[in-house]
Assembly symmetry: C2
Homo-oligomer: 499 residues x 2
Amino acid sequence: MKSFTLLLLILSFILYPLPSSSSSLFKHRLLRTEPSSTKQTETKISYKTKYLQQNLDHFTFNNNLPTFPQRYLLNTDHWDPSSVGPIFFYCGNEGDIVWFAQNSGFLWEIAPMFKAMLVFPEHRYYGESVPFGSKDEAYKNASTLSYLTSEQALADFAVLITYLKHNYSALLSPVVLFGGSYGGMLAAWMRLKYPHIAVGALAASAPILQFEDIIPPQTFYDIVSNDFRRESVTCFNYIKQSWDEIASRGQTNDGLVQLTRTFNFCQQLNSAEDLSGWLSSAYSYLAMVNYPYPSEFMMPLPGHPIKEVCRRIDGGPPGTSIPERIYEGVNVYYNYTGEAKCFELDDDPHGLSGWNWQACTEMVMPMSSSPDFSMFPPYEFNYSSFEEECLKEFGVKPRPKWITTEFGGHNIHATLKKFGSNIIFSNGLLDPWSGGSVLQNISESVVALVTEEGAHHIDLRASTKNDPTWLIEQRATEIKLIQGWISDHYQKNKVIFDM
Amino acid sequence: MKSFTLLLLILSFILYPLPSSSSSLFKHRLLRTEPSSTKQTETKISYKTKYLQQNLDHFTFNNNLPTFPQRYLLNTDHWDPSSVGPIFFYCGNEGDIVWFAQNSGFLWEIAPMFKAMLVFPEHRYYGESVPFGSKDEAYKNASTLSYLTSEQALADFAVLITYLKHNYSALLSPVVLFGGSYGGMLAAWMRLKYPHIAVGALAASAPILQFEDIIPPQTFYDIVSNDFRRESVTCFNYIKQSWDEIASRGQTNDGLVQLTRTFNFCQQLNSAEDLSGWLSSAYSYLAMVNYPYPSEFMMPLPGHPIKEVCRRIDGGPPGTSIPERIYEGVNVYYNYTGEAKCFELDDDPHGLSGWNWQACTEMVMPMSSSPDFSMFPPYEFNYSSFEEECLKEFGVKPRPKWITTEFGGHNIHATLKKFGSNIIFSNGLLDPWSGGSVLQNISESVVALVTEEGAHHIDLRASTKNDPTWLIEQRATEIKLIQGWISDHYQKNKVIFDM
């Protein structure tokens, strides 16, 4: 079960199982001839594309290192500099920033009301923001990749905001941070580490507690499994039974030929493990995007997609084999439009592969699959094997305790009870990442917004006419809290403004 | 006035003008045959010397970098692990840690009362905590020096505390940070950046606002000058007149021979500038250690040393030349015991030379000398010249805005009004560094303790029988505040302790 266990170890925050840049990890994806982002935009957006030269290492003074161009998208259409309008700053995640900008409709929708400047900076080593001249050079080896860390990314953001404030004579403009998933973690950490730079952060679906021993390692897959069980126990059981059946068929070449045909792959499967990885990715990502209305973040999907997956798994006529049922189900995820003629295992249209490096260095998130509650094959996280894989893949040794040393996480309620302010941790309980996030208020202004029916950072998406009441209310609460941070900022700086 | 202007630019936090490791900067010091620390200890201390291997760069994952041994001094004599006793952690400054431990009597005195573990970690690149095997190798060039930054030092502290907590089963022990001068800045920044690691910080004489344009650049030298003027206007005027007189004499070789003799140097002076630097260092450091009782932090001195300096400058019989008066005065600083037979310009017994690198990279503190209020020659800070000197000296370009980007400083009262907690900024107004520190309460628990008659982090020193009432009261307030942080920590973690 090699590829599956690796999937358990290194799972992207975004809605993709991450293909490695150079290895055979995670070769499961619908083949796309064009990136989904070009046609999935729900919000009409316009921006200027800009670049700022950044130091490759902010925390040393090595003159031999080159700088690199950080791309950022800028919109000042609604910004009112005369009234020290706010700056809304989206903390770019592990991918092309245009894609995140297109899928963060909430910011675009509220910018006019706040007269806010919008900034979408790209995370270093992703999209166009790569050092050493090209992605090939930047991703060449552990030495060139070594500057791809969250601390450096936060410092990039700090430098960029400082630069923008000077450049736009916006020294007193309050900066509000936004981010979803890994971007949400960055937003929360940025507010904690750089309180002088931003007045608050909306950290959507930000699993800042998914490290070390803070939460039980089986949390993620238990939530995915529950998402399926709540729709249909039969469906849950079919999936749970499918792994052995697939493994058993995969032991012979004939079996693999048959599985290849059943699951409609363009090329012959090399192992049952590849298929298992492809399936478990689909389930995990379905749990994340289990939105109540049709969406197209990564894949065009119906509303309540898990309900639809289970309807198809359960719905086959008597005599339908388990693999056939499973295929009908995951077709909802991989081919809801019916446009795919066949499937490929490998694809990465949004350039997310750098996450594998991050997961092998500081973003070590132990994940297991419990024999009792999970529909996935039992699996226990083993740090030694994980380390070995990372050494093999990148020649790098992870630092599994570093994130909690640098950013904390243990006992966070006591730590932040009287420290820090103005952070919203928003989470939907259907989202498997919610288990590693902050689900209870910590203080008066470090608060948790939890929705029973929400999935992965749904609140950051553009509004739709199908939005349920709880989502409309959640966004209204977020707006109110952000307004409070901004008013408070103006109040605290009243003396300065009055001068 | 080259060496004087450089003194204005790069002035150590500690009581020494810093000699550069390789250049002619700051060659002015009493020759000592043994480090002052061996005979100046006011507190009897005992400790175990330990080492922890640290990553050279915490914020990148470059496997080719070596680790280095961080030295730390540990005392567990009074620590009560059964009651989750606190850990008192002194943030080591830019020098040998033994020296700081010996001169931080306050910690040693209060440890028994708190049943605290005492930890004195050494700052990287100082004392024995040097990478690349030796100080020569570590200080070889900009490449090897590049990891000498405050962020890396804070990360060293975070890793060390985390390690100690695990190693001593002290996961729930509250950590209280202490530090004076640069160490005080580190303590304050550490509390802000690592709230999950320490519950509070006593930042004594920590000029965290001495950067960029936060305070007027003439602040430091104005305070030094005021310290002299308040003792004697005549003395102030003699000093103010002395610079021209010295410069004028220094223009001929005969004049230099005469100055060398007047000031009793072991070797012939090369320029009047060297002498001016030597003198202005003495004045600045006298202002810092203008303690109300005899002390021996760097130099054996009488109580109220500036009073004594001015008594001697003013006291010469009619006809005494200005240089002779000045010599009588600075003799108090450089040779109060009368043991020095003659003076050398160059000396660095506590290994402080790394500060020159720090000042040339991130610790850029603009300092000017105002023509109106200063007793020093007028001087205006010029960033371009400063940058040029650093490029020449180290081949490194400073980042003058980096500290405020990383740690803040502008508008700090608004920023921290509702963010952060449990920091004491203690300052004595005689200390020239007090002008760059926090002198007003920011919030209920980020507070300023200001004493009119205090000098450089006097509160961290051991108590003496001559302590004035205000000092006794200041320390009592600090103890009370620290007790409050610790009680609050126990209260917040009650659920965990009760389990």
